[in-house]
């Protein structure tokens, strides 16, 4: 099954007179259960592409279809709804809400999608266990190490059982050990739940886990291990 399908997508940033073709005519299909790495030099468009797939941004031209749903022309609220149910995010910086505990951060997307009390508690406990953070449930982000924060972020991304998780350089701020640990967790969850993972990364440690590697340059796909 296709979780994401991009057809001839471009994204042009315009700052004054300068136009940057951050994504320049990409056609791409991501299948359920993939563990895909987006690689390429800095400025090649990895983040931009992830934002387009994640419906955080809209293409200048072309089509983005998520879980069979055409996203062009969706309102801000409709896109928020789509993200809430279908897409989880993990960012390079450990993007937790600083005022909420690990537990509450993971609970947040469940609250947003209106899950009942009992189900929520059960799901958060399950996730804390999945990422091995049960004993730190009541810690605030500033009381957690980078690796621990990133594991909480992964748990939060998984909370609503999204079809697809997008991660932008998830290991860039982690040391080798923590990076490996986070990747192991994601890999395991990918296998257990068939959730699709897409990473933007420079990190060879991440690339070695990938089942598919897509190389970008100047906003174009120059190599796709699956099609090669």
């Amino acid at each position: 099954m296709e979780v994401a399908k991009l057809t001839d997508v471009t994204r042009i940033y315009k700052i004054g007179e300068v136009e940057t073709h951050a994504v320049n005519g990409i056609t791409l299909s991501i299948k359920s259960g993939e563990f895909t790495a987006l690689v390429g030099p800095s400025g090649s468009g990895k983040t931009t592409l992830l934002q387009l797939i994640g419906c955080l941004d809209q293409p200048t031209s072309g089509q983005v279809v998520i879980n069979g749903m055409e996203t062009t022309g969706l309102s801000r609220n409709q896109r928020a709804d789509l993200r809430k149910g279908a897409i989880g995010f993990v960012f390079q910086f450990f993007a937790l809400i600083p005022t909420l505990t690990a537990y509450e951060n993971i609970e947040m997307p469940l609250l947003l999608s209106g899950k009942g009390n009992g189900k929520r508690t059960q799901r958060v406990k399950e996730l804390l266990e999945d990422v091995d953070m049960t004993d730190r449930a009541n810690h605030r982000p500033d009381q957690l190490s980078g690796g621990q924060q990133q594991r909480v972020a992964v748990a939060r991304a998984l909370a609503t059982n999204p079809k697809m998780i997008l991660a932008d350089e998830p290991t860039a701020n982690l040391d080798t050990e923590n990076g490996e640990q986070v990747m192991e967790i994601m890999k395991r969850l990918n296998k257990e739940t068939d959730t699709t993972f897409i990473f933007a990364t420079h990190d060879p440690r991440v690339i070695k886990y990938a089942t598919r590697v897509i190389t970008l340059e100047d906003g174009k796909i120059v190599k796709d291990s699956k099609e090669a």
Partner: protein
């Protein structure tokens, strides 16, 4: 969503000092407004009270030709048979008390010192004379006292008079000449209003009538009503070709005008204070929106809608506003309660057109408190819509771009 409150509360706690300071700004603003309102209310009450009780009454019945500025006791200006007129007026249901008064001009002389005064003949037995019964020394007049006079404390002070002392009083009589007589100071009164007390001396009505040659006549019938709002209706009913009837509103145009004016003035002042304090709150929230760009991005990325993000910031604003208002209410209430008991001393302001007590006692009304509190809350929340909207419009993309 219940988490709004928790998140909002903790966010405020993240920058505790700033949150406290901006809530405090609101508290001080509200306390200030409450205090000003209570001060004005106290002042208006005091001046209305003093002016009506001492000077104008609620109604005055006068001869058709009476001219209050002349203080003349020429017969054409006076009411005939004032006792009867007063008695009839007093029979009316709405009337609390009606009493004839004679007002003449004169000069008090002691040794080589003298002072121009208003000589008022009053009925010592009438309850309308109660404001003069507060004596610093001596005793009050009796109806048939022929040699006694009551003078105000500031006049006694400036002329060096004590109870029991003698003074020489000159009066402009009804036939246009001057008469004089020695009187004994029976007592020295204080109404609490120096401006008034320094310019008036009191005689029993009958003595004043005899002394000034007014015979059985009076300048006015001084009427106090049970409810002063009835004055207009009653005046219309009493008006006749022989008499003019003036209400306290006619008699105190300046005061009535001043009340309207000060209400408008207060409103402007309040809007300025609320404007400034709301700006402080909005500023705090705007800063916090910009500081939390990334956080807003994350929340948007995980599916929070603009509306929900607005709600989050509005919740913060509400907590700040409610906290600040609660404390401000306490502060303002405390201030007004304190100065309502102790009073604020101004002394003789020497204003003309209305009388005011030397000490103003603040008076905070429930309606003022409610109105100011609700206005502050509404304006603060309304102003907070701006940062809330700012937050909800933020693009989620920015969150992904951040790195630290």
């Amino acid at each position: 969503m219940m988490n709004y409150f928790k998140m909002a509360y903790r966010n405020l706690g993240r920058n505790r000092r700033r949150s406290l300071l901006s809530a405090l700004a609101l508290s001080i603003g509200l306390a200030l407004m409450l205090f000003i309102a209570s001060f004005y209310e106290g002042e208006m009450r005091s001046s209305m009270e003093s002016t009506l009780r001492l000077d104008s009454g609620h109604l005055q019945i006068r001869a058709a030709d009476y001219d209050p500025d002349k203080l003349s006791v020429a017969w054409e200006y006076l009411i005939e048979n004032p006792g009867q007129v007063a008695e009839q007026a007093a029979k009316l249901n709405q009337v609390d008390v009606a009493t004839p008064r004679l007002i003449a001009s004169g000069i008090v002389a002691v040794g080589d010192q003298s002072a121009g005064v208003e000589i008022m003949g009053i009925d010592p037995a009438s309850s309308a004379s109660d404001p003069y019964r507060r004596l610093t020394s001596g005793q009050f007049l009796t109806t048939d006292d022929r040699e006694g006079i009551l003078i105000g404390y500031p006049l006694a002070d400036s002329l060096g008079l004590k109870a029991g002392d003698q003074l020489n009083l000159l009066v402009n009589t009804s036939n246009g000449t001057v008469d004089e007589q020695f009187f004994t100071v029976r007592g020295i009164f204080t109404t609490g209003t120096t401006t008034y007390d320094k310019g008036i001396v009191l005689l029993p009505l009958s003595k004043a009538q005899a002394f000034s040659g007014a015979e059985n006549r009076a300048s006015i019938i001084f009427v106090l009503l049970k409810d002063r709002e009835q004055a207009g209706a009653l005046a219309a009913a009493l008006e006749s070709s022989n008499y003019q009837v003036e209400t306290w509103k006619d008699l105190n145009e300046i005061l009535v005008l001043m009340e309207d004016f000060s209400n408008a003035y207060l409103l402007i002042l309040n809007l300025i204070v609320v404007g400034v304090t709301a700006t402080v709150i909005v500023n705090t929230l705007v800063m916090s929106v910009f500081e939390r760009t990334r956080e807003i991005g994350i929340l948007t990325a995980i599916g929070m809608k603009g509306r929900q993000i607005s709600a989050l910031f509005l919740t913060e604003a509400s907590i700040l506003a409610l906290g600040g208002i609660a404390f401000g209410l306490l502060l303002g209430w405390g201030l007004s309660a304190y100065f309502g008991r102790v009073g604020i001393y101004f002394g003789d302001l020497g204003m003309t057109g209305f009388l005011i007590g030397d000490r103003i006692y603040t008076y905070l009304t429930l309606s003022d408190s409610l109105y100011l509190t609700v206005m502050t809350l509404i304006i603060t929340l309304f102003a907070s819509l701006y940062p809330a909207r700012l937050a909800s419009r933020m693009e989620p993309v920015e969150a992904l771009h951040g790195s630290d």
